[in-house]
């Protein structure tokens, strides 16, 4: 936040779909997001909400069969969706890199940690083996791996879960990216280790001025680490605001419902949780109108028919896709 912020990654009206045998199913619909240098943007939503897929598609690493159908992803003047595979590959890692959820499956079990970091470095930089090894040791030290001179030759199974995730972070920051996308980086980790990994990511962001995108379902982590938040539902952004505005004055019923559904460490005990009624949406058969309407406690007769779009509810970028947003905060 201390760095003067400028837009680094600009996702404009991105839509993504998967082609099935009979029809194409839209998975991400008209998503626009700006990521500024030095900030932490949290992306929140349940499984299947499109929060991860938006970024996979933006980087051109979406699973086979998943295609960008419209929109652009602007990074330093280039539209990433139009770059050829080689040009895009050189952007990934050096400009934008990603850390994934499961540190065990993201590492190759038959190569040492050091070999895997050195491979990343030498694929992109003109380094000798010895130079790359020295740099890899520095990186491990930077992510607080104890005794990095010795541990660099360890294999993934010799690392604990937290150390593996830190080794992956070392790889992700090896090429000094300007945007680091962390996809549920601590979901597989214990709570004490989770705290350490996130403190590390925040510290690296402050030191380097890179932008951090934190994809998560944990609202506690968002509260602690994020500057801005985008809430995804059914492949679209339904609310976007600063972290304070989103938590203290939510303006979409889905956001309010999320807060009511989670048990909190500081809430009064013996209060029943309020689950969101119904099931998560089937993207192949979305209802007309607002996709959240069938599960919404505030739904009115017109919600099933009117097309929703994100509107700025204030003059300081608090966006909501609920046309009845002015009634939402009174409900909370």
């Amino acid at each position: 936040m201390s760095h003067p912020s400028k837009v680094l990654l600009d996702i404009q009206q991105l839509s993504v779909a998967v082609s099935g045998t009979q029809s194409t199913i839209p998975l991400v619909h008209n998503v626009s997001l700006q990521i500024n240098s030095g900030e932490t943007l949290a992306v929140v939503g349940e499984s299947g909400s499109g929060k991860t897929l938006t970024f996979l598609a933006a980087l051109g690493i979406a699973p086979a069969g998943v295609k960008v159908t419209s929109g652009e992803v602007l990074f330093e003047g280039d539209d990433l969706t139009k770059l050829n595979p080689n040009a895009l590959r050189s952007k990934r890692g050096t400009a934008i890199s990603m850390v994934f959820q499961d540190p065990l499956s993201a590492l190759n079990p038959v190569f040492s940690i050091g070999t895997q970091i050195i491979e990343v470095l030498r694929a992109h930089l003109p380094l000798t083996k010895a130079q790359a090894r020295a740099r890899a040791i520095e990186l491990l030290e930077r992510v607080h791996i104890p005794d990095p001179h010795r541990r660099i030759d360890d294999y993934p199974h010799q690392f604990s879960g937290g150390m593996r995730q830190r080794a992956l972070i070392a790889m992700a920051i090896a090429l000094e990216p300007r945007v680091l996308i962390a996809d549920e980086p601590t979901t597989a980790l214990d709570v004490t280790v989770q705290a350490q990994v996130l403190e590390l990511l925040s510290q690296l962001r402050e030191e380097t001025g890179m932008a951090l995108v934190l994809i998560t379902h944990d609202l506690g982590l968002v509260a602690r680490h994020a500057d801005r938040v985008a809430v995804f539902y059914a492949g679209r952004i339904v609310e976007q605001a600063s972290v304070q505005a989103l938590f203290h004055e939510p303006r979409h019923p889905y956001t309010v419902s999320l807060f009511r559904t989670i048990p909190r460490l500081d809430s009064p005990t013996n209060i029943a949780l309020t689950p969101i009624v119904g099931q998560p949406p089937n993207l192949a058969k979305l209802p007309a109108g607002c996709p959240f309407a069938p599960r919404c406690y505030l739904a009115k007769s017109d919600c099933g028919s009117i097309q929703t779009k994100l509107i700025d509810t204030t003059n300081h970028e608090h966006l909501s896709a609920c046309q009845h947003w002015s009634e939402v905060h009174q409900e909370f």
């Binding site: 004490t192 705290a195 350490q196 403190e199 506690g220 938590f247 419902s257 048990p263 909190r264």
Partner: protein, 349 residues
């Protein structure tokens, strides 16, 4: 609500479990792992006891020992006043009607080739319930978990994660057990579905009086559902007590650190909170530290060592009390109020 004055439903007494590293392919035997070490626990009728701890703390092993799915190396398991530690397989199977388990993964724990009615009535078949009664009990169990019995001919893949977990609960409840072990029952579910399942478990307990041993790593979820909570570290219960005692007045430094690491979903409150980080990584169960097993990671040991009149010794570059490094602390206090295994349980910092 729990009846802590009644006789315990389940008692685990001085349970230890050592997994002997079997001879490896090179002919050497690897180190034995002490997964559970002298754990003692009582569960009362109608209560939920939350069992928390990091990966490798032995909480799942202890849960399986309670059902005798794993045999303890030493110690005894008492269920409904009877010692079942050495019960024969035939008699144990009879007892198992009264004790069931719900697993974490609603995808892996249901046979994909069995329809829901087969899945839910399978325990009835195993326990020789007459055919005429099976249908009735199966329907009742499905209704109890909020699933339409008209869907009973469908297969697991036709259900969502939350509905599958309901099938798992129906399967466990169909024999009307007195005791359920729930091993991470909601951690694979999305938050909106998690709340549905937690509310369901609460309703079932109110209606049937079943006791839960609720194993989970999410401390907010455990606080929500538990009457009492036990905290495990490297195979030992280091603190146990009522929900409010553990969450509002934790005494063990491990509990204090765990709770400080859980973020609260409020940016103002959360950013004002202080973390009390643990030192290093969780120790290894095949090389339990001397004295208090928590001492190498204990932030409090370092604080206490600064005080006057405390005998200290070196641990690496820092000082820690001799007591912590040499004496294994016992669990002191009442397990129905608050008990803690720490030499310096009242020190704050």
């Amino acid at each position: 609500m729990a009846h802590l004055t009644a006789a315990p439903l389940l008692e685990l007494k001085n349970i230890s479990k050592t997994f002997n590293g079997s001879a490896s392919w090179r002919g050497r035997s690897s180190n034995a792992v002490q997964a559970v070490d002298q754990a003692t626990l009582a569960l009362y009728p109608g209560e939920t006891l939350g069992l928390v701890g990091e990966t490798g703390s032995g909480k799942s092993t202890l849960g399986r020992i309670a059902l005798r799915l794993i045999e303890p190396s030493s110690g005894s398991v008492m269920f409904e006043g009877q010692d079942i530690t050495h019960l024969s397989p035939r008699l144990l199977r009879e007892k198992r009607q009264r004790m069931q388990m719900v697993f974490q993964d609603p995808y892996g724990s249901l046979d994909p080739r069995m329809s829901v009615d087969k899945l839910v009535s399978e325990p009835l078949v195993v326990h020789n319930v007459e055919y005429a009664q099976r249908q009735e009990k199966m329907h009742a169990a499905l209704e109890q978990v909020g699933l339409d019995p008209a869907l009973a001919h469908r297969y697991p893949h036709e259900f969502s994660g939350g509905q599958r977990q309901r099938i798992g609960i129906a399967r466990a409840m169909v024999l009307d057990p007195a005791f359920l072990v729930l091993d991470e029952p909601v951690s694979a579910l999305d938050v909106s579905i998690q709340a549905q399942v937690l509310n369901l478990l609460h309703e079932i307990q109110i209606r049937t009086g079943v006791s839960y041993l609720f194993i989970a790593h999410d401390l907010s979820v455990v606080r929500h559902i538990s009457h009492r909570v036990a905290v495990m570290y490297l195979g030992r219960i280091v603190e146990i007590g009522t929900r409010d005692a553990i969450y509002n007045r934790p005494k063990h430094p491990y509990t204090v650190s765990l709770l400080s690491a859980v973020p609260i979903p409020d940016p103002v409150l959360e950013r004002a909170r202080k973390r009390i980080p643990l030192i290093g990584e969780i120790g290894s169960a095949n090389n339990t530290p001397s004295g208090c097993r928590f001492h190498p990671r204990c932030p409090r040991a370092h604080e206490v060592a600064q005080q006057k009149n405390i005998a200290i010794q070196k641990l690496g570059a820092t000082d820690i009390p001799v007591l912590c490094a040499t004496q294994d602390p016992a669990l002191v206090g009442s397990d129905t109020e608050q008990a803690c295994a720490c030499h310096f349980p009242h020190e704050t910092f």
